[in-house]
Amino acid sequence: MSEVKQDKAKGSVQTTGHAWDGDLQEFNNPLPRWWLWAFYATVVFAVVYWFFYPAWPVGNSYTKGGLNSITYKIGDKQVTTHWNTRALLMKDLQEGEESLKQKKFMKKLVNASYAQIVSDPKMMQFTRAIGKIMFADNCAACHGAGGAGVIGLFPNLVDDDWLWGGSLNEVQATIEHGHRGFMPSFRKTFTSEQLDNVVEYVLSLSGNINDKDKAAKGDVIFNNETGGCYYCHTHKGTGMKSVGSANLTDSIWTVAKVPLEKTTDGKRAVIRKVIRDGVNRQMPAWKSRLSAAEIKVLTVYVHELGGGK
């Protein structure tokens, strides 16, 4: 290292001049010069800042700064405001590089047919990416972020059971107009014994054969005017998508919480509850709330979740 002359005077530490208890003194250490200059620089920066950006509260308002106003659009109207991060975001959403790219791709999507979209990997990637956000904003409150729904309340969109039809057009119609899933209550129609028999029959439809006699009796009630269940569920029990009635012969239960029950008696109880109380589910219509493009994206997204029909 270089030979440095030890400058005694330079290194000496000043004291404040007071002495307590005879010899207690306080050092007067000056701030490092670089620190001091950096501090002055921040002061200058702050003053310059006041002129350009919102800074001081004045009464109910504040100084707005100048020379850097932001212009963006609200609807078709041009708005010019003082610099603020919200306007900056709005401007970026309208004119930013990524936004323009997204808009361009969105336009392509709007002009494409469903058949074109679902067979094109790139368009599907875009649709799923943007659809995921729209789904989270509009649909996830009921159907869950992943679309798995809540059994008994909100249908699962990830499986292959499409109560109201699983084609792209049918999914679009469902989103646009909403649906009312209704099954009347049979509390007053059936005696307790009749109810037991129908429950047993419904269980047997999907292969859960327990009490054949009861099921046979239930079959009669289900398929004649006593119960009239076949009006909606058909004689085979496969349901109709025009009224959104459930297919009782497959492995999926959309209303009765059968999969959650371990015992046969438990399964009987939950089915019994559904028949006794009926079903009244409603999905709102989205046509007035979402744009055609948004509905298109959501249609493809939902269709893709479970694979559609």
Partner: protein, 470 residues
């Protein structure tokens, strides 16, 4: 005011250093390395390269599109571990070389040394040799001093700016970017980078100089601990230089070698040339010091003087400590061989990895919300996000198939054909449907195999995936 008898100076002010220029073999070598390094650095961004995707920059680190171009090689984000490997190789190379040859990196290759050399050259060309510069600094401010000082700093700033601008050119299309740069339409990071590099170059090479090596640089510190007795260091032969009575100027009766020998005076004539040429301002005759960057300019200086006197060269020379003690430098020792082997292994692994780079990359993640779902026919369905990436320079068509999952079907919806243009990637949603088997719960491992054809060669990439069944 002061009441403590001993003063400690916590701030050591910089002592200005005015290195004198010197000619010699090490100086020549350093100039050659500098010319080579500058040539590569300043010309590289302007070099074009023919690629299957069109003519492009030979070396470009395209952060925006997440691709690095290195001549014939295209590095994707997935290959980022190559960077880690390169850094490891660089580290091991540094350890290896430092153990043998000391701070060779500092003295010859470090950009701080290279740029400081150029700055010193400018300073010398404008302000003159060492005595002239000292005089100039002591002089009162007058027109001449202002002119010379301003010119020096302007030239420094120009070099700094060129350095910063060139660095920026590595991160975008140089020809396009330089046009944008001077018309004010380049992206903000381009200006920020250029400004920052200009500033640091100017400050580090112009103002801070040897303080960077002495106080700031971590390499300087940790290279020193890799030294041992066999490491080559720039050393002053004190035995020969001092003899019994120390060094002395060639005064009366001490002019010839014989006179000095008889008088017990060393060969060092205390001319101070070695101190004057030192860019870090040390006196090598005090032995090995932390500030020594092993640049060997003092060797050149001393050799010049010895040549002039007609005495033997080598009063200051590269020598290991063991040699100084009269021993022989040992090169083949555990440390050197160990570092050498590790270095070779790392290089071999990197080369192997680069050569065996797959032209496609596949990443599969299972959709976790929900993990699985029961289908109407009782089968279980899991969904996956499949990222496919084409790293080659041509259009490829990819096929997906399942392996190792009984009675399972892969469902890509209506997507029949996955074609990818060069250097593009796509994310596919894949559903896998498998028969529910009683007794099997939890996760079943299986494989998704992605196949394609590149240059007529079949490529299969197999990925391990889990299927959740309950």
């Amino acid at each position: 005011m002061s009441n403590s008898p001993e003063e400690i100076n916590l701030f050591e002010e910089r002592v200005p250093i005015y290195p004198r220029s010197v000619k010699g073999r090490f100086r020549t070598m350093k100039w050659s390395i500098l010319v080579l390094a500058y040539g590569v650095y300043f010309i590289l961004p302007w070099l074009r390269w023919e690629r299957s995707t069109g003519v492009n920059q030979a070396v470009m680190f395209d952060i925006h599109d997440r691709v690095f171009y290195l001549f014939g090689m295209v590095v994707n984000p997935q290959d980022i571990f190559w960077l880690a490997a390169m850094m490891m190789i660089a580290a091991f190379l540094l350890f290896f070389v430092t153990g043998i040859a000391g701070r060779a990196f500092c003295g010859y290759f470090c950009f701080q040394t290279l740029w400081t050399d150029v700055y010193l050259l400018i300073e010398r060309l404008v302000q003159g040799e060492r005595p002239a510069r000292i005089r100039l600094d002591k002089m009162r401010w007058n027109r001449q001093k202002i002119f010379k000082k301003v010119l020096t700093h302007v030239l420094w700033l120009m070099v700094a700016f060129l350095t910063g601008l060139t660095f920026t050119m590595y991160w975008g299309d140089a020809y396009q970017l330089v046009g944008q740069f001077f018309t004010g339409s380049a992206p903000f990071p381009a200006y920020a980078t250029t400004f920052f590099l200009t500033l640091t170059t100017y400050v580090m090479a112009g103002l801070a100089r040897e303080q960077v090596c002495t106080y700031m640089c971590p390499y300087a510190r940790f290279q020193s601990i890799m030294f041992d007795q066999d490491t080559l260091i720039v050393a002053y032969d004190a035995q020969r230089g001092e003899m019994q009575r120390g060094r002395s100027k060639p005064g009366k009766g001490l002019k010839t070698l014989r006179e000095r020998r008889e008088g017990g005076v060393g060969d060092c004539i205390d001319c101070g040339f070695c101190v004057q040429v030192c860019p870090t301002g040390i006196d090598i005759r005090n032995g090995l010091q932390m500030s020594c960057i092993s640049c060997a300019l003092c060797v050149d200086a001393c050799d010049t003087v010895m040549d002039k006197l007609g005495w033997e060269r080598g009063l200051i020379k590269y020598e290991s400590e063991r040699e100084q003690m009269g021993g022989k430098t040992r090169l083949f020792k555990f440390k050197n061989i160990g570092y050498g082997l590790v270095l070779l292994t790392a290089i071999a692994m990197l080369v192997w990895s680069v050569l065996s780079q797959s032209m496609i990359s596949v990443a599969i993640t299972q959709v976790r919300n929900p993990l699985y779902v029961k289908l109407s026919d009782g089968r279980i369905q899991n969904s996956y996000e499949v990222s496919l990436n084409n790293k080659s320079g041509q259009d490829i068509t990819l096929h997906l198939q399942l392996k190792g999952l009984k009675d399972a079907v892969l469902d890509l919806g209506k997507i029949r054909k996955i074609t990818l243009p060069p250097l593009e990637s796509v994310n596919i949603y894949a559903r896998v449907k498998a028969k529910h088997r009683s007794g099997i719960r939890g996760q079943i491992p299986f494989k998704i195999i992605v196949s394609t054809k590149i240059d007529g060669k079949e490529i299969h990439m197999s990925k391990d995936v889990l299927f959740t069944m309950r």
